[in-house]
């Protein structure tokens, strides 16, 4: 069998594919973070908590109300997005005019409250969410057996990221969002309800996180801390891509997932830190991030 660095090619390709699945989640989460940061200047530390809430919404919806996976893909982001809008109106909007640190602390506190509440209500051990029937099974790619659900995650994430990119870069609504990122006071002087736009953007960003949570529910254990472990990596992804850059967050999310997968093959000990090593190098060489504006 063909080998590279003494590792079978099939193993490498398999890890790259798994890395791509992780990268799909990184991309989805960092996308929402980038949009929120770009428009509102808020480093949303609660992003992981909203991802967790998305997964819990799917799980509890199924257990309590028999809501199936496909309905949860729509309902969970809507519910969590509404929750996001409420927290923006009640809490977050008061810190925009202060230093960014306040927004970070506030959302960090929000994340702790969400996690603590979920832990109190459902314990820390977590539950698994069944893979929907239509996506069960696996396909043989020749070099690996790929579970259909993981292929679905990659596809869905690419479609969602692509749609978001199109919305923001190619539509009137997107032009309004971009202009708000650049100079919100002037946009408001033109007659656009900027406070409403901000609330909607925050709702949209956390709805994306919740959608990622629903997608993740069948492949990871649904626990109150599932977002916590992920969000640290996602922040590194956003820094590497460039704070506020949509394209940057998607590309670097996918790329870093793949790089992580590759590291698992050639030097597994480094796979947990490789993203942060890259972040450190990027910060030294190009502080604004790979796609950020200097």
């Amino acid at each position: 069998m063909t080998q590279v660095f003494g590792v079978p090619v099939a193993v490498i390709l398999g890890q790259l594919m798994l890395g791509l699945v992780n990268g799909a989640f990184y991309a989805l989460l960092s996308l929402g973070l980038a949009v929120i940061f770009g428009l509102m200047g808020v480093v949303n530390f609660a992003h992981g908590a909203f991802y967790t809430l998305g997964a819990f919404a799917a799980l509890l919806g199924l257990k309590w109300f028999g809501v199936n996976y496909w309905a949860a893909l729509v309902l969970a982001p809507l519910t969590v997005g509404a929750l996001g809008i409420v927290s923006e109106r009640l809490l977050l909007r008061h810190v925009y005019k202060l230093e960014p640190l306040y927004g970070l602390l506030l959302t960090f506190g929000l994340a702790l409250v969400v996690e603590g509440t979920l832990r109190e209500g459902f314990g820390a051990t977590g539950e698994s969410y069944p893979v929907p029937r239509a996506l069960q099974g696996a396909v043989n790619l020749g070099f690996m057996i790929l579970p259909i659900y993981r292929a679905w995650v990659i596809l869905a994430s690419l479609v969602i990221c692509g749609t978001t990119w199109f919305l923001i870069e190619r539509t009137r609504l997107g032009a309004t969002l971009r202009s708000a990122t650049e100079n919100a006071p002037l946009l408001q002087a033109f007659g656009v309800n900027v406070p409403l736009l901000m609330a909607a953007t925050y709702g949209g960003g956390v709805a994306l996180a919740a959608l990622a949570g629903v997608l993740a529910a069948p492949v990871v254990l649904v626990t109150p801390l599932m977002g916590n472990s992920l969000v640290t990596v996602v922040f590194a992804v956003v820094v590497i891509g460039g704070m506020g850059s949509i394209l940057g967050s998607v590309v670097s999310g996918l790329a870093l997932g793949i790089i992580e997968g590759f590291t698992k093959v050639v030097y597994p000990e480094a796979s947990n830190v490789i993203v942060f090593v890259i972040m450190a190098v990027v910060l030294i060489v190009r502080p604004a991030g790979l796609f950020g504006k200097e």
Partner: protein, 234 residues
């Protein structure tokens, strides 16, 4: 006399701790072109910003078309039918020229069509796909004026639109203001460029230290020229 479209009474404006406007009073009738004169730092730009709500805080009264606007947020003030063109032009770099043009939402009925706007500013016609800030200074200024003509705003606040532009562009803008006046727009302008401003205005207000210190009609200008030159340091 035409109806009063804008009445500013005892307007004070602040940026943080600094008190910039100290009780500004003036009024503008529908269809008038009014120019605010004064030295740099006299508070003319802040007056325009305070009308639309873009200052830290403000007090006094701003009546627009009979509606009190002092307590409204900027987007509600704009929807009373105001178009604002800031001194720095405010062209968005991340938007194309076309997106910049289409950005401001309608704030009144009867805004100009895209065709009318391109007839008024032919230079903009083929520049639609260009990123906003890649346009020349003159094109950016035309775009900044053009985009508020689309919205149906009837009261235009124009801040130093002739500043730093080539004479040929200033002529285009001058023709534009004339045309807008013919169409019945009401315009409040801040201008430094006397030769540009004089033939356009119906009335002048002179500002100093955040207050109106003088006002006169265009017909009274000749007799006051010497005094005015001293006051403005021309």
């Amino acid at each position: 006399m035409a109806a009063e479209l804008l009445r500013v009474t005892d307007l004070h404006a602040f940026y943080g701790e600094s008190h910039i406007l100290h009780g500004v009073d003036f009024k503008v009738h529908a269809g008038e072109v009014v120019i605010l004169l004064g030295r740099n730092g006299s508070g003319r730009t802040t007056t325009l910003k305070a009308i639309i709500g873009l200052v830290g805080s403000r007090s006094g009264s701003v009546m627009i078309n009979g509606r009190e606007a002092i307590g409204l947020p900027p987007h509600r003030i704009a929807r009373l039918g105001i178009g604002y063109c800031p001194e720095e032009r405010g062209i968005y770099a991340s938007l194309t020229a076309q997106e910049n043009l289409l950005l401001p939402p309608p704030v009144g009925s009867g805004g100009m069509s895209i065709d009318e706007i391109y007839t008024m500013f032919p230079n903009l016609r083929d520049r639609g796909a260009t990123p906003g800030t890649r346009l020349s200074g003159g094109e950016q200024q035309m775009l900044a004026v053009a985009r508020i003509l689309r919205t149906g705003a009837k009261l235009l606040l124009l801040d130093e639109i002739s500043e730093g532009l080539a004479p040929v562009i200033v002529q285009v803008l001058s023709r534009t203001i004339h045309a807008l006046r013919e169409k019945g727009y009401t315009i409040v302008m801040v201008e430094q460029n006397f030769r540009f401003a004089l033939p356009l205005a119906d009335r002048f207000y002179v500002m100093e230290h955040g207050q109106i210190v003088d006002h006169f009609a265009a017909s009274e200008l000749e007799g006051r020229r010497a005094a005015l030159n001293v006051r403005l340091g021309v």
